[in-house]
Amino acid sequence: MTNPNNATISTVHQAEFTSGHALQIPTLRILQDDGTLYEGATAPELDKATALKMYQTMTFIRVLDERMLGAQRQGRISFYMQCLGEEAATVGSAAALDDADMIMAQYREQGALRYRGFTLEQFMNQLFSNEKDLGKGRQMPVHYGSNAIHYMTISSPLGTQIPQAAGYAYAQKLRGLSNVTICYFGEGAASEGDFHAGLNMAAVHKAPVLFFCRNNGYAISTPANEQFKGDGIACRGVGYGMKTIRVDGADILAVYQATKMAREYALAHNEPVLLESIAYRLGAHSSSDDPSGYRSKEEEELWRKNDPVSRFRLFLLQKGWLDDEADKAATEQLRQDILEALKVAEKVAKPGIEHLISDVYSEPIPELERQLADLKEHIRKYPDAYPITSGRL
């Protein structure tokens, strides 16, 4: 017997439900908390230079997050979002990609962005929305993007990038490119309709896209058990007829290995793959959130032991690839560099007033030109009220 999709199906002759938890997807773990491998686990092939780049990217993000959250608390930037506890998930997956693969992120994937080569100055320019920001100061902090390094500009509406990634990857396939698209999203965003739309579209149209879900236990204050009832996000991939894998998101070797395999599979078969990374959002949701209102310190402490950075650090020390003293000095230097870059970026001017109307369309339409002319005239009348632009008209 076949179903309408021409798949062979088995039949039974007594009514019986399939349990909503019939499918239990295991979690891949390679690296233990003490930096040694699990018994029976094999470390992925990783040369020293790549391993160190991965580690340095993780420490960069950790120090940047710490500094910039501080800068937000001082009122120097308006908003910030940390990646604490999820550095391995984003860095490990990005390291398994080709430089020309497209990255479409949600907002907590600074690790992937840094691994691709986004510079400290570029981070700062975006966070301070100054005139050197690639996004021309139009979006909130942390909404990064860069065409040169194939990192799609982030937008706030959740899940919208999921069907877009399916379309982007389909276009890559049509163009005959040997590249995939990776699409990151949280477990909360996976409740949006766009998750369903995107995964189904990608599966049906055979788009080489890696759907990477960061399941970190919380969507702002909503715990995962109020987000879904099934076995996480991974089990849904199977429902869409998609290759699926679940990994320990604090284990960078597991994330790297799974993403590398997923990429090879997606390219070889022109098919999407779903990866679910299980980690914990150790920090607040954002600078506008205080998690003490919805979760216990005990719970946080439990997960703090599961630190992705220290785990990988121990691995590298044991391999003799990392020097403890030099690493501590490098981290201290990084703190200095970030502070310096911050001071520079906050003094750079804001974008000129013409950027209010540029890029709405490829060319400003007549009505926009009229509105800008009226605005300039108004600012000339009240220059003190508009100090950012009045001196530069």
Binding site: M102, D133, L134, G135, K136, R138, Q139, H143, G145, S146, N147, M152, T153, S155, P157, T160, I162, P163, Q164, A165, A166, G167, Y168, A169, Y170, A171, Q172, L174, R175, T181, G193, D194, H196, A197, G198, N200, M201, V204, H205, S358, D359, V360, Y361, S362, E363, I365, P366, E367
Partner: protein, 325 residues
């Protein structure tokens, strides 16, 4: 030149665009082998293959998101939403994503190659969900362009221009005219300008403005008005966003009167935007209040469709009222 109905003209435009540029890809619900529920994509899959003309799963937000992704990669997706009434599940993708793609990224990325084609409008006993004219919802969204053709010649030229346009376009097709409107259409490639209204007939006493399927209705009203000696200037707006303020304002400065007609409900309809702008631009030239002949502020009804619509008689009465004020 060849005689074509509007569907044939649209199909011909898609065919030419796909032949001209490998990046043009047509997709949507039932768009593939079947050729679309109205047959607008007929034979395109046979000609260009399943990879470039295909059915999608039944998900408007998925279609729109997929189109955004393809366009961001540099292709020119022409996505079909089966009825404009069903574009609302894609509203978030269109308003928050499509429209803001270039602006929010500082021009690092854009979806300029994108066109959403969708049949709109009433007059076919379509009830609530096969009759709507949602252009005003989108007119409130900077970053989009909105085009509505009135006949086969316009449909082909404006659709080709939309596909070639470096900005995303929503292309509303008056389904009532798909087969009813037949005319001479050049067989070769041509474009008509987006953002430009067309003065179809010059006159001196009143400007009558509409778009899409309403053009044939207001033409009938104008004929009736001319028969009793009222000289009307007739304008097809063609583009809702950006709209051609200069052409309309110039006409109203000459005639001193304006009657606007659209199918969609009155309140919040695009006629309100036009009326406010023209009142500001032409205040000293206006000799009577700007009149709007529109659908009622109700959902689109089935049994009383004839009473509901902004027909030629209601328009004729408005023209007389405007002139006799």
């Amino acid at each position: 030149m060849a005689k074509m109905n509007m569907l044939q003209a649209i199909n011909n435009a898609l065919d030419l665009a796909m032949a001209k540029d490998d990046g043009v890809v047509c997709f949507g619900e039932d768009v593939g082998h079947f050729g679309g529920v109205f047959r607008a994509t007929s034979k395109l899959q046979e000609k260009y293959g399943k990879a470039r003309c295909f059915n999608t799963p039944l998900t408007e937000q998925g279609i729109a998101g997929f189109a955004n992704g393809m366009a961001a990669q540099g292709m020119k997706p022409v996505a079909e939403i089966q009825f404009a009434d069903y574009i609302f599940p894609a509203f978030d993708q269109i308003v928050n994503e499509t429209a803001k793609f270039r602006y929010r990224s500082g021009n690092e990325f854009n979806v300029g190659g994108l066109v959403f084609r969708t049949p709109y409008g009433g007059g076919i006993a379509g009830g609530h969900y096969h009759s709507q004219s949602p252009e005003a919802y989108f007119a409130h969204t900077p970053g989009l362009k909105i085009v509505v053709p009135r006949n086969p010649h316009q449909a082909k030229g404006l659709l080709l221009a939309s596909i070639n346009c470096p900005d995303p376009v929503i292309f509303f097709e008056p389904k009532k005219l798909y087969r009813a409107s037949v005319g001479e259409v050049p067989e070769e490639y041509y474009e008509l300008p987006i953002g430009q209204a067309e003065v179809m007939k010059t006159g001196t006493q009143v400007t009558v403005l509409a778009w899409g399927a309403q053009m044939e209705i207001v033409e009938k009203a104008v004929e009736m008005a001319e028969a009793i000696g009222i000289s009307c200037e007739l304008i097809d707006l063609r583009s809702i966003l950006p709209w051609d303020v200069d052409t309309v304002a110039e006409s109203v400065k000459k005639t001193g009167r304006l009657v606007i007609n659209h199918e969609a409900p009155l309140t919040g309809g695009f006629a309100g935007e036009i009326a406010a702008t023209i009142q500001q631009r032409c205040f000293l030239h206006l000799e009577s209040p700007i009149l709007r002949v529109c659908g009622l502020d109700t959902p689109y009804p089935l049994a009383l469709e004839k009473e509901y619509v902004a027909d030629h008689l209601k328009t004729f009465e408005a023209i007389k009222a405007s002139v006799n004020f």
